[in-house]
Amino acid sequence: MTEPAGSRASVAAEPTLYDADGAAVPTLHGRHCTVCGHTFFPPQDYGCESCGAAPEHLAAEDLPGIGTLVASAMVLRHPRAPFTIGTVLLDSGPAARAVIETPEGPVPNGARVHSVLVPAEAHAGVETVELHFASEEA
């Protein structure tokens, strides 16, 4: 995958999961099943886990990066620790596990959160960005 045309030199660390096109609240790339209506994230094109429909019945669906934090926990034993991981119930239905930004301390369970792109690393002027979630209060 290449960076979106017209953007600054930033690329998504996981381009199949979200765009790095500079949107204020980045959209997640989900799927929905045209047979049973099941909406899911992360995307896959093997078959519907709900009804078993074949790949041709799985359609791309952009999921707004807005939801509610179900729970979060700080991870202290990991090569990239410390960071906070959280379960976000997206308003569109699926739950996503992602890093939670905590610039002002822990985000309480039940808080409204939205997606943000966070620089992960930079090489030769190209910045790689990861999709995290942050409190709407922050």
Partner: protein, 383 residues
């Protein structure tokens, strides 16, 4: 719907054996496994040639573990099958051995669990399906999230959760086969830094090496081979489920246990309140209250308070993980589910010495595995 175990001929646990669970050592898997198998045969008072099929639960060792190990008991030409089902590999080997005997295909079968620590080849990584934080979503991070959600919902404190580890280390300190055999105070458990969320090291299971073996037999084999019927334990039910799709942020770990244990208890004709002993998959402390509630051993949100009251202690209303559970007895993967059956059997025989739950008659063994899968067996003392 096909037959369940209770529809087939009765199957009994007649022999149990273990090699201690321990940190990785120079001991070969052959020595680990043969130690457990020979102990189980001696306990059953049968010779190896009486065993008609061998099912070896292992997740990390590689190809052909059974024949490579069991040939040193004397080759007898019996069918040998390796069973891999992640953390439930041993439980699944036990289930297959039970079905083999219950169906009439074999009269005597053995379930073995053996493993040594290695890097698991996780197929989920090979699917090509990407996720946002997959490299950061370690098992302890996953269960720290479940702990955070549970503690918030039921107003449970980190201290209450840590008491699971205190109880299970106390039980494990009495178990000569346990990986961790040291009693721990609440200060010990909470005195170390957390790995993730509220989960400290002693609230996470040790993964080492070990082995466990269980011999199962039909009524006719017990009579024919002159085994001691007063020490046999009836396998009332065996249920193995894989996960249903859960919507949104539902706790699929708990839902899978709920479905599996509901079926296993119904097939056994008992309720969760009838259980005297439960061996729970407590790889992390939070799993014990989650699964006890999902099984119906108590109401939602009450497991932590009941723990504080001693309800789950040996001598309490139901002894939960009297072996020490995964937290203290350990989780060497392949052996774990077989070791649970060994502990439940020992309890129902009344042979658990200092760990004995008084009057134990009915017990349940519960394992979950990556996938996710869940195996539940209900056993009862033969009257």
């Amino acid at each position: 719907m096909g037959a369940v175990l209770a529809d087939l001929r009765p199957v009994h646990v007649v022999g149990i054996g273990l090699h201690r669970y321990q940190q990785a050592s120079d001991t070969t898997f052959v020595t680990l496994g043969l130690t457990a198998v020979r102990a189980a045969l001696a306990d059953a008072r049968v010779e190896w040639p009486a065993v008609e099929a061998a099912y070896t639960g292992t997740a990390l060792l590689g190809f052909a573990v059974g024949p490579t190990m069991l040939r040193y008991l004397g080759t007898t030409g019996i069918p040998m099958v390796q069973v891999e089902n992640a953390s439930a590999s041993g439980s699944t080997a036990f289930r297959v051995a039970c079905i083999d005997v219950a169906s009439g295909t074999s009269d005597v079968a053995i379930a073995i669990g053996v493993d040594k620590p290695d890097i698991p080849h996780l197929t989920s990584i090979k699917t090509g399906v990407r996720d946002l934080a997959v490299s950061r979503m370690t098992p302890v991070a996953h269960f720290a999230l479940l702990a955070a959600e549970y503690m918030h919902r039921h107003r449970v404190t980190p201290e209450q959760l840590a008491l699971v580890a205190v109880k299970n280390h106390r039980n494990g300190s009495l178990n000569p086969f346990a990986h961790r055999q040291k009693e721990r105070t609440l200060d010990d458990v909470l005195g170390e830094p957390a790995l993730a969320g509220v989960l400290t090291r002693l609230q996470c299971c040790p993964i080492g090496e070990g082995a466990a073996a269980v011999v199962v037999a039909s009524d006719s084999a017990i009579d024919r081979l002159g085994m001691d019927r007063t020490r046999s334990v009836h396998v009332l039910s065996s249920v193995l489920n894989s996960e249903h799709l859960c919507s949104g942020a539902a706790n699929w770990d708990a839902e899978l246990t709920r479905d599996t244990s509901r079926r296993a208890l119904a097939e056994a004709g008992v309720t969760a309140r009838d259980l005297d002993v439960i061996e729970v998959h407590d790889a992390f402390s939070i799993e014990e209250p989650l699964y006890l509630e999902a099984m119906g051993a108590c109401k939602e949100g009450e497991a932590a308070a009941l723990l504080s009251d001693g309800a789950w202690d040996i001598g309490g209303r139901c002894a939960v993980s009297p072996s020490g559970g995964l937290l203290s007895m350990g989780h060497p993967i392949g052996p774990t589910g077989v070791g649970q059956v060994a502990e439940v059997t020992r309890q129902l025989r009344g042979e658990a010495a200092a760990r004995q739950q008084p009057g134990a008659r009915t017990g349940l063994a519960h394992m979950v595995g990556l996938g996710a899968v869940c195996a539940v067996h209900v056993l009862q003392r033969d009257e």
